[in-house]
Symmetry: C2
Subunit: 326 residues, 2 copies
């Protein structure tokens, strides 16, 4: 920057202004400086800029997994939206490990970002500390509950489970099962499972079978179907905590000669693209993943533009997408 200033015959302060706040510099100098910077291939050092300016154009976002397509799409959307406003996403991934989350949050906070976005409401002590003493907006996404740390934008997973159970109950289905993946680690899947069981029991007076599998992938869905049928042969409906599991079960049902929805009804969760294309098409519960990304960006931007904006707590709800498997 010093060099640009020298060549352009101005002070570094003016160069900084010309680049940072062009409207504060005369037209003539602005163009001259820009031209020189261009010619010299000057690239500002953002680290120095951030140290001096006490703010970075960074937004830390922490998700459990990058390969989970919900988070991936939320992330992709947020990246694009924030980028348009000059912010850059700093993405972290902890694999459902709260200790790892704690370390990542601490690391992110030390870059003092413009905002911090984390997934879920359940965090380690240290994470809570770091987050609540962070000098920036903090939003907890993908979950709804009372009293967010600062802002919360998501939906009730427990509610999604209830919806599934109520739907089954209304159809007069009494022999049901819930299949969930890594319920011990994924709090959201756990909440859906609990919501389902509690509601189904309350509404039908019968206890649903719950089976847990070790991953969200297709193969486990097929395996789960076998286990459900082994443990409760007269099962007529299964709710899955993920569409991929449901699709895996459909493939398995196909192999086993079971007809869907005739012999067995299947309800997914996620409304992945594939749900619209299976034979028959998969009935599923749709979480508001696009809405979450948008709402997070909108809220963070608002907070950044007008720092006195208060935090919010949003429940974006889920939708039942009726197709052909129930």
């Amino acid at each position: 920057m010093e060099e640009v200033a020298k060549v352009a015959g101005v002070s570094v302060a003016t160069v900084s202004r010309a680049l940072r706040t062009p409207e504060a510099v005369s037209q003539k100098l602005r163009t001259r400086i820009e031209e020189v910077a261009q010619r010299l291939g000057y690239a500002p050092n953002r680290i120095a800029g951030s140290l001096a300016g006490a703010r970075t154009p960074l937004i830390g976002v922490i998700v459990p997994s990058l390969t989970n397509s919900f988070f991936a799409s939320t992330l992709e959307q947020m990246t694009t939206l924030f980028e348009a406003r000059g912010y850059q996403l700093m993405i972290g991934q902890h694999g459902y490990d709260t200790d790892r989350e704690e370390r990542i949050v601490a690391a992110f906070a030390s870059w003092n970002p413009s905002a911090l976005v984390v997934t879920g409401r359940n965090h380690a002590r240290g994470t809570l500390n770091t987050l609540s003493s962070a000098a920036c907006p903090v939003v907890e996404m993908w979950d709804y509950g009372d009293r967010p740390l600062d802002s919360g934008i998501g939906f009730s997973n427990h509610g999604a489970g209830e919806l599934a159970a109520r739907f089954f109950a209304e159809q007069g289905l009494t022999r049901a099962a819930f299949v969930g993946a890594i319920l011990d680690k994924d709090d959201r899947a756990r909440a859906r499972a609990d919501g389902f069981s509690e509601t189904f029991r309350r509404l039908t007076g019968t206890e649903p079978l719950t089976v847990t599998v070790s991953s969200r992938e297709l193969g486990e869905g097929g395996a789960a179907l076998k286990r459900v049928l082994a443990q409760q042969p007269d099962t007529t409906a299964i709710a899955f905590s993920g569409d991929m599991l449901a699709v895996g079960a459909m493939f398995e049902a196909d192999r086993a000669g079971l007809s869907i929805p005739g012999d067995l009804k299947i309800l997914g969760y996620g409304d992945l693209d594939i749900a619209r294309h299976t034979n028959p098409r998969l009935t599923t519960i749709r979480p508001p993943h696009n809405e979450i990304g948008e709402a997070v960006v909108r809220h963070v931007l608002e907070r950044l533009d007008r720092p006195d904006t208060p935090g919010i707590n949003l429940d974006l709800g889920v939708k039942l997408i009726l197709r052909e498997t129930v």
Copy 2:
């Protein structure tokens, strides 16, 4: 840090050393300083640290898309591996837009990261400039070719296309088609398409049909199948540039009453989890996605540990996974 120093009764330099290079400080002071820092909840400011130290623990990685499961899994793997060594990934996503890539690369470079990892070999002029003047290792991943900018780790997509064509030709299949998504933007898919067409023509003397669809999603696979059959009704084999397209086509074939592989042979690309579970199971070409992530991390770490390590250019190759659709 000043406060920690005051409370511990030492200079800030000592505090810095105690935290950064503990072995350079006496046992007694080290524990005292650590204890004070802990008690005061001191969190170092990484921005200041990086400015002073002239290097950041950041590794910039730029991919076309976060929702593409190959990149997502490479990214997830790299995150974990680098994290273990104290590096943090800075992830960028440009949606196959070279101008956007250029901006992101410039933005990333201005944080002067420890390394920069980009996807592919085809970049805008400005990207090339920034990358070649970057003061850190640069690796181009997911593609193979001669003369990488610095290091290259990937495989030949053209070769993957050739493999598919050769496989079809060996089976005596002469009426074939290639279905690719966004061939105008995705250079890797384009290379596979070209590799397929050239090789198929050379080997069988007949021109394969090529159809382009607008996304990598299932629905487009089904649509593509209809188009192929409309344009070339006697088609006996189709190679897809992605497994999801192939699965979409299988669903459509099912609806149309076509038997696979009897009436039509289908070859995917990607070896996604789903390929192992369809009925029949999908024959596909497997890119070395895990190997890429590992190799990139290993190489970058090596370069960082021993700065005189030269760049490399690795072709990790693809594998044909024989299953039941061809």
